[in-house]
Amino acid sequence: MATTTPTLTPTFATGATAKPGDVVRVDPRRERPGDQVAPGLAEVGLNHGFVGDVLSAMLTHERCGRHLYRSVATRTNNPVLRRKYEEFGGETERHATILEDLVTQLGGDPQYVSPAARAVEGNDSRLLEATYLLAGSVDVMTQEMVMLDAVLLAESMDHANWTTLAQLTESLPEGPVRASFAAAVGDVLGEEEDHLSWARDTKARLTVMQASSKAMATTATKVEEMVDTVRGWLST
């Protein structure tokens, strides 16, 4: 069981490393060539450079997920949603630690940010940005759904990442590498199932509830009234 605090934003100060490319000119002190990403995976016959890059991308998704949960927990007007966001945010942080530990066990570097991880961060940070840059376009109730949608999208990817890891684990020969993967998957996959099903069910529930309620966001509706409405959601 992971207990340490993970790095949420790898930086020069935390010891971040990256793979140099034509366009991405990594400081040579921080270069990590492809064959050093997760060398421990070579012994089980995997394409260790590829899998190391994928693990970095999955780790990045958990890190970005932690930021997303902090952000929506701060901004939601609904106490039930806030508690869930805080709870899942804490679990997401734990998943980041578990992946950091897994990467370390494989001889890799949890501070390594792969090209795939950069792409994931690009997706995830734009997903988070989209929940606030256009907040002026939507009313208070719609804003709650925008944030919930972002959580649903993030958890869909998160769930897919861990089911992918579960399948990868199945393909591994018995031994310490497989045991490391299996322990991580066993620890996390159940929570990912909770996260995804909660987000999907809550979206449906709030949509159906609003569809049958009288509260409607018109230009005459006061913000305080809408906040009150949102605050009452899911209270029973």
Partner: protein, 408 residues
């Protein structure tokens, strides 16, 4: 120990609004001013302009009213700061004299950044454009003598040599060859990030200044020279802005902008001997720290990122310093004068095949000759020699030695 900006409170942004009289400072005396005070004023004006333009761009990408209002407040303050800094330039300093100051900034800022830049690719990018701005100083110094009978060393005070660099006429590259690779935002040394942000702002301001002042003259040679060099500055902005990692979100970029302003005001006040101007740098430093806190609060609230995750615990303890870089510039001249660009890479011009787009572009823009060459010919005709200030001996590149002094 470098500054830890998060440990300081600074001035709260709401308390930073100044009156018209505060915004109209007494300019420096152009005859008495330290040339490097002039360059500090030029640099910090460019830094403020970038902070304003960046904030406007950010604001155009959101309709969140709270966020837009917070940006508007900080941006209004940045705009006031810009007035105070730029207001230090005196009205009797002509645009051409200011221009010579701009190129002195470009030379001694770029050289200093290059000398301290740990990432070899960024270092190479700085060296590359250094030689081009160094040449601009020489071209403008000749224009100054030609038009005004002026002596540019009265502005530079021999702190920066004036002699050809990579000749402006050969700097005109196909646009595709001004695009560069970039640093990686997670792994980048905080010093490198600050270096790149600083040089982007400085070159952008130079581009803008030439865009606006190129038509201040009646003489076609002056108008032509400004047009030609303004286009090189556009190349330089293209070149330097490519070095930034586009992965960072708008909010993170906002935080990094405030950090760069903090680092630079802190740097400027380390060297400033003029106590009145020093107190402006000090005040602006405290203002920037206040602005940083606003940016950090936005980062925390909207992106769930704790500022400590991306703000270094300590800014670099070496201040950006204006000082002579003569030996450094000479060594880069000697080693890199022949460099050109091929896509993202720097290569000797002789390595480019005859069919390279560089030559086609050169043939097009230089078809009728180049003002940067004409200005030297015209000044030779008028003054009997071209204008140079080679304090450290003859030019390190044989082909660029003065034909007149070489005959002596």
């Amino acid at each position: 120990m470098g500054l830890n900006p998060l440990e300081h409170k600074g001035i709260p942004v709401e308390d930073q609004v100044r009156s018209w009289s505060d915004l109209n400072p007494q300019p420096y005396d152009k005859h008495a001013v330290d040339p490097y005070t002039r360059t500090r004023v030029i640099l910090m004006n460019g830094i403020e302009v970038e902070s304003i333009l960046f904030s406007h761009q950010f604001a155009r990408h959101t309709d969140d009213v709270d966020l837009k209002q917070k940006l508007a407040l900080s941006r209004r303050i940045e705009a006031q700061q810009q007035k105070v800094v730029n207001g230090l330039n005196p009205g009797d300093q002509t645009p051409l004299e200011t221009t010579i100051g701009y190129e002195q900034v470009a030379v001694d800022l770029t050289a200093w950044l290059a000398r301290h830049e740990p990432n070899p690719y960024l270092h190479q990018a700085l060296d590359f454009a250094l030689l081009e701005d160094f040449d601009h100083l020489y071209r403008y110094a000749n224009l100054y003598e030609l038009l005004d009978g002026g002596n540019a060393t009265e502005l530079t005070e021999h702190l920066t040599e004036i002699t050809p660099g990579r000749p402006t006429i050969v700097e005109h590259r196909h646009p595709s060859d001004d695009v560069r690779g970039h640093f990686e935002t997670h792994t980048v040394d905080p010093l490198s990030r600050l270096h790149v942000m600083t040089i982007v702002a400085a070159e952008q301001q130079t581009m803008n200044f030439y865009m606006n002042h190129g038509t201040d003259w009646i003489e076609p040679i002056a108008r032509g020279l400004y047009a030609e060099i303004a286009l090189i500055e556009e190349q330089h902005v293209t070149h330097y802005e490519s070095l930034l990692d586009p992965l960072d979100s708008w909010m993170k970029m906002l935080v990094f902008h405030e950090l760069d302003e903090i680092y630079l005001y802190w740097s400027m006040l380390q060297q400033e001997q003029d106590s009145r101007i020093r107190s402006i740098w000090e005040e602006h430093l405290d203002m920037e720290i206040g602005q940083l806190h606003v940016a950090c609060d936005l980062l925390r609230r909207y992106e769930g990122v704790e500022p400590e995750e991306i703000v270094p615990a300590e800014l670099p303890d070496t201040p950006v310093t204006f000082e002579p870089n003569k030996d450094y510039v000479r060594s880069v001249l000697a080693e890199q004068i022949q460099l050109q660009a091929d896509g993202l890479e720097f290569v000797p011009v002789d390595d480019l095949p005859k069919s390279h787009r560089y030559f086609a572009y050169q043939a097009k823009v230089n078809a009728g000759g180049a003002p940067s060459e004409q200005v030297i010919d015209a000044n030779r005709d008028k003054s009997g020699r071209e204008f140079r200030d080679e304090t450290e001996g003859e030019h390190p590149v044989v082909d660029l030695r003065d034909p007149v002094s070489a005959r002596r």
